[in-house]
Every structure is written in structure tokens, then in C-alpha cells.
């Protein structure tokens, strides 16, 4: 069972929900897929151990063999190769690593070399039984999706995987949520929260991933998010109140379920609700296995 915690708008509480949800269920794998700014571990405080580098293949051109025909530059739809009158120039940060230039080169002048763009780290929380994985994209690198894909390769499938998604609706989000069994969309009761929720809903519907909504800081805005969910027949899974106690714990880096045990119960109920919503999709088996 793979459950992503995502949101159209940033700063609505994805990490708060992901960490508290994972701690409440226990014995899960937790993945921080917000690789441009991973922050789950601010609340877990685990010692992380590097597992591996994330690399992508970029072209290497043998100037001796190159005849400056320009076919590689013409082929590259990301404009990572420029064909100049006297030389070819590469822009590795624009390269998506597709390898097409190598195929079209008539002189066999192009080989591939690996370029590191990020890393995968892991930490174990013995108290909760959480196996935590985090991907980090190196500063200045533009392409997050290879790090996310490699991170998700660590999902072992024997237990629940809780995935903290990047915000928005662009490539990193598609890479994160595309293959999920369920997606929880966290939003806030503001016009921005509603606007970006609608965008995220559109993405999930196109991806065919079942989803429901959590309203965070409930009570701070208006009712339009609730009205929207009702109108669109979207399950409203949970409302987390706009409460000083939660904000104070957050500011100290403490997951609020640790001090507010009633919320542990609520997140467990949420998990069972997600299982029953997904049961139509033949997921019942793995859910039962974990909850027993």
C-alpha cells in the first residue's frame, strides 16, 4: 500500500501530515520525496546514512571523431547541445539523459558519462519502527525526477509506504504520485488553498489515482474548500484545527501526535478509512496484513 501526501499549494502541511500519519501507524516506510527541500527529518531527528548517489547519463563528445554535422544538436529537444561553426558545446544541466544524441551520431563520437545530481539517505527509528528514506537534489541542479524515481525504488511493498510529496502540479509531483495506491491532498481553507487544490485534483483525476482531502488549519479561513469537496464528491478525510498547541509543537520540531495522543487515534482511523476506500481496488489484502 503506497500512500502519498501531496498538495497543490506549498506550506499547507504535507510534511506535518506525513510524519504524524507515519508515526501513528508505526512500522511503515516513510519517504521524503520533496528532494529540493527535504524536511521530514527536522521532525524525526534521525541519524541518516548515505545509501547511494543519484546519477544521470550525459553525453561526452570525442572532438577527434566529431564532424560537426550538428545532428545531435538538432535532435536534442532540451537544447542541451549547441552546434557552433567550429565546435559542439554541451550544457549538461539541460540534459535529460535520454541518450538520443548517441544514437543519431553518424560518427560514433558520443559516449555517455555519469554525472551525480543527488543522493539517497536512510535512517531507522527504533521507537516507531519507521524506516525513513530521504532524497536530496544537489543545489543548482534543475531535474528532481531522477532522484524521486531512485528514491521510490526503495519501496519494498511488504508494508505501508507513506510518501511526502513535493508541492505543486509539475514533473516532480507527477513522478511522486503517479504510481500511488492513494493520495491525500492537504490544503488550507483559503482562496489560495482552494485554487491550488483544484489544480491538484485535476492532475490526480488524469493520473487515475484515488484521493481525498485533509483541511489543515481548519477554522482559520472560510468554507469554500469544504463546499468544493462536497460538490465534487471528494472524500473530506480529516480537519486539523487551527490551534496554538499544534503550532507551538511544530515550531519546536515535535510531531504533534507525540503530545496529543487523541490524534494518533485519528490518524489510525484515517489509515483504515483509506484502506476501505481503496478496497475496491484489490488493496484490501495488503491493508489487512499491516493492520493486524
Amino acid at each position: 500500500m503506497k500512500i502519498a501526501i501531496a498538495s497543490g499549494k506549498g506550506g499547507t502541511g504535507k510534511t506535518t501530515v506525513a510524519v504524524n500519519f507515519a508515526l501513528a501507524i508505526g512500522n511503515v516506510q516513510l519517504f521524503d520525496c520533496d528532494v529540493e527541500e527535504p524536511n521530514c527529518n527536522l521532525f524525526l531527528g534521525l541519524d541518516l546514512e548515505k545509501q547511494e548517489d543519484v546519477s544521470i547519463s550525459v553525453p561526452k563528445i570525442d572532438a577527434e571523431k566529431c564532424s560537426l554535422c550538428g545532428k545531435c544538436a538538432e535532435f536534442c529537444r532540451y537544447n542541451a547541445i549547441a552546434n557552433l561553426p567550429q565546435r559542439i558545446m554541451l550544457f549538461p544541466k539541460l540534459c535529460h539523459g535520454c541518450g538520443g544524441c548517441q544514437i543519431v551520431c553518424p560518427e560514433n563520437a558520443i559516449t555517455e558519462e555519469l554525472r551525480s545530481i543527488g543522493k539517497i539517505e536512510k535512517g531507522e527509528d527504533s521507537n516507531s519502527g519507521i524506516s525513513f528514506f530521504q532524497g536530496t537534489l544537489e543545489i543548482g541542479e534543475p531535474m528532481a525526477t531522477p532522484v524521486i524515481r531512485q528514491l521510490q525504488a526503495h519501496i519494498d511493498g511488504t508494508t505501508v509506504a507513506v510518501i511526502d510529496s513535493p508541492p505543486g502540479t509539475a514533473c516532480p509531483v507527477i513522478a511522486t504520485v503517479g504510481d500511488m495506491d492513494y493520495c491525500v491532498l492537504v490544503t488550507e481553507p483559503t482562496p489560495f488553498g482552494l485554487n491550488d487544490l483544484i489544480l491538484a485534483v485535476d492532475v490526480l483525476r488524469q493520473l487515475g489515482v484515488p484521493f481525498g482531502v485533509i483541511i489543515n488549519r481548519h477554522g482559520s479561513g472560510d468554507d469554500r474548500v469544504e463546499e468544493y469537496c462536497h460538490k465534487e464528491n471528494i472524500p473530506l478525510l480529516m480537519k486539523i484545527p487551527y490551534k496554538r498547541e499544534i503550532a507551538v509543537l511544530y515550531s519546536e520540531g515535535i510531531p504533534f501526535v507525540e503530545h496529543m495522543p487523541e490524534w494518533k487515534e485519528k490518524f489510525r482511523k484515517l489509515y483504515h478509512e483509506i484502506c476501505s476506500i481503496s478496497s475496491e481496488n484489490t488493496l484490501q489484502q495488503s491493508c489487512t496484513k499491516v493492520s493486524s
Binding site: 544538436a73 537544447n79 552546434n83 557552433l84 561553426p85 558545446m89 539541460l94 531535474m143 514533473c171
Partner: protein, 120 residues
Amino acid sequence: MKICVTSKGSDLDAPTVPHFGRCKFFLIVDPDTMEFEAIGNNQGSASGGAGVQAAQQVIGKGINVLVTGSVGPNAFTLLESEGIEMNIFSGGSVKEAIDAFNSGSLESIDAPNSAGKSRR
């Protein structure tokens, strides 16, 4: 000498535009005769690498001077490697940009002056 001016339209009276990689047209002008050629920027709406493509296009035309508003880091690398002189001009028409260049009043671009856009 060939001067490339980034422009909104395809003649000398067209207004200049400041964004090198994302302009509509490149006007390649001979400042002595004022003969010109207008080339459409075929990558103006590329998701990324528009500057690389634009620089290739105008370098291929054998220009010596570029007059525009801003140049991103990738385009700058390419243009500089070909020894192309880059100058800032804003407002006004292509013809006025050429006049300003001829009078020697334009400030040169010695480093990338736009962040460019990394693809997401």
C-alpha cells in the same frame, strides 16, 4: 559587419524586445547599408534552453554584435565563446537601436544579466 537586434516585428520600425532567448524576431542588420534580414525565433516558447537555441541561430548567421536587453548564462557562454560583442538597449525601435550602437552610446554586457530559466 552584422548586428543582431532582438525585436517584436520583422522590420526596422518594429519595437525592440529585451529578452534574447524569448524574443519574436532577430533582425540581422548591416549598419552601413541598413539592409536587413528578419529571422523568426523558433524556440521562443521552448520549455528550456531557449537561449542556447537562440544563440546557435544567430551565431549561424555570422553576426558580430548583439543588441538586446538581457542574456542568460547559457546563451552568454555561447556568444562569448564566439567573440560576439553584446550590448544593452531598451525601448525604441530596431532602427533607433542601430543608431545608438553607431553613436557608441550603448553599454556592453560583460556577464549574464538574466537568470535564464531552468527547466522544471
